[in-house]
């Protein structure tokens, strides 16, 4: 035999556990993401999900298959991407005993039950959650990390209470600099992310309990997660249990070492260049995608093709989406009704199809802040924040 299957008991032994694990059968087929070494399994039934792209079994990394984005404005919970750093968060929460501790540079420390939190006025916000490393597999040159295609993003309706209400109860003292959030995933280096006080006090930052009308499933942070609309999902701390007001900059690993980008205006640098200054990643630049056509699709010559897709930006509401066949002449797309400034915005257009041969289709979004997708991809060592204008090569026959 070429390969041996190592004793799982041995590895579990490393975790201080000797019980053998049972393994459920999976229905799986293969799929090829369009980059080198992009073969993945499409699986159903992992973590209670529908069909997902399996990027890693443990700790779970599950990617949303791209066709889901064509099926509606809201990404269903059972198709929503999953990203955990470690598999250490408890799957069973003793909800009556669960507490969120608010401490640090505050007037009053708080220890809040879920009932305490639910007693505050709730609100709903539709917002895109996107992994900072979404689309990392397209980085050129490639970089290590989770090798996502474009499916580490989703749009959901989040329900919860404004973090600000909790901060006001605790009383943030003068001189506070940042608020650090930690969850129950406790393996070192313990996950924690921080927001500047003024960002955290925005009413739209939620302590969310529900997603698309359902209580958060374990994989999405039951019983409570932070929702920071417009910001990359690394800040959306799951199983949130600890809120610490800091009077100095946060120097924990996940802020000081990880999830950082170059300080250049677009967060890019030149491959191989000496490491320069970096800063924590923050809000999402605009992106847009065609969702009803795929690379290599065949179109009928001298026809009109409906094109449609999604756009979003964390830096302002989507103001404009345009398509182009050559990257020079751009044509306005129709924006569908608003789904909230933080959510996906659907758009559509009628695209004339020319003579037989190849036809390109590019799409770009501009937000209310004037931020526009760049024609060429930026690059950084973390493979973060890709937002290049997407293009499809279509076959006209």
């Amino acid at each position: 035999m070429d390969h041996f299957i190592p004793s799982r008991r041995h590895f579990m032994g490393l975790l201080g556990v000797t019980a053998a694990a049972a393994f459920a059968p999976l229905r799986a087929t293969d799929l090829q993401l369009p980059f080198d070494n992009g073969k993945r399994r499409l699986v159903e039934g992992v973590e209670g999900k529908g069909q997902m792209i399996l990027q890693r079994t443990r700790a779970p990394l599950l990617e949303t298959p791209f066709e889901v984005y064509d099926q509606g404005l809201i990404t269903p919970v059972d198709r929503f991407y999953v990203r955990w750093h470690t598999a250490s968060a408890p799957r069973q929460i003793d909800t009556p005993a669960f507490r969120v501790h608010v401490h640090g540079h505050v007037e009053r420390e708080l220890s809040l039950t879920l009932a305490d939190i639910s007693s505050l006025p709730a609100r709903e916000i539709t917002a895109v959650s996107q992994c900072a490393g979404n689309s990392r597999g397209f980085s050129d040159p490639r970089v290590p990390g989770a090798q996502w295609g474009n499916g580490a993003m989703g749009n959901a309706v989040w329900r919860g209470v404004s973090l600000r209400q909790v901060l006001d109860r605790a009383g943030v003292k003068a001189g506070a600099v940042a608020i650090r959030f930690r969850g129950l995933d406790a393996m070192p280096p313990q996950f924690g992310k921080s927001l500047a006080v003024d960002v955290a006090r925005n009413d739209d930052v939620l302590l969310a309990t529900h997603m698309n009308g359902q209580p958060l499933p374990w994989v999405h942070g039951f019983p409570l997660r932070l929702v920071v609309p417009g910001w990359f999902a690394t800040y959306w701390v799951k199983t949130l249990s600890d809120i610490e007001v800091l009077d100095t900059e946060d120097d924990n690993y996940w802020m000081a070492k990880a999830y950082r980008i170059p300080t250049t205006p677009d967060g890019s640098t030149t491959p191989g260049a000496p490491a320069g200054a970096t800063t924590p990643i923050s809000t999402m630049p605009p992106r847009s995608f065609v969702t009803n056509l795929h690379d290599g699709d065949r179109l009928r010559a001298h026809s009109t093709q409906v094109i449609r897709g999604i756009a979003f930006s964390g830096k302002g509401a989507i103001a404009r989406v345009e398509w182009s066949a050559d990257g020079h002449a751009w044509h306005r797309c129709q924006l569908d009704s608003e789904g909230g400034k933080y959510g996906f915005r659907r758009w559509h257009a009628q695209m004339p199809v020319g003579a037989a041969g190849q036809q390109r289709l590019l799409v770009r979004a501009t937000d209310a802040g004037g931020n526009v997708q760049p024609p060429t991809a930026g690059w950084n060592p973390g493979g973060f924040m890709r937002n290049v204008v997407e293009s499809l090569n279509l076959v006209v026959a």
């Binding site: 975790l15 019980a19 053998a20 393994f23 073969k39 079994t57 799957r91 393996m187």
Partner: protein
């Protein structure tokens, strides 16, 4: 508090694995014994789905797992593990060459 949380989290790990479904078998052909530590914290797709990395990149990755994530890798084992990861990828790449596709 922190220690007890950690203990609880680790104690439920087998439940977590079974709930997630089958992990891929891990072909550890030629692996140094110390490499077993790689799959203590993550399943093997994390290794096999990486793009082609240089030996230096694999070495940096092993060191990151050791220093930042606390993987119990002895200094003397770092190079062995990195060498194995790099050579494993080259072998897998040759085997899979026919099925590869670039954008």
């Amino acid at each position: 508090m922190k220690a007890s949380l950690l203990g609880f989290a680790l104690a439920i790990a087998p439940v977590a694995v079974s709930a997630q479904g089958a992990e891929p078998p891990l072909p550890l052909t030629g692996a140094p014994p110390a490499a077993a530590v790689c799959v203590a914290c993550h399943s093997s797709e994390m290794i096999d789905y990486q793009p082609r990395l240089t030996l230096a990149q694999w070495r940096a990755t092993v060191l990151k797992m050791k220093t930042a994530y606390g993987a119990p890798v002895a200094d003397k084992d770092v190079d062995d593990i990195a060498n194995w990861l790099a050579s494993r990828q080259v072998n897998a790449g040759q085997a899979a060459a026919g099925s590869r596709r670039l954008p």
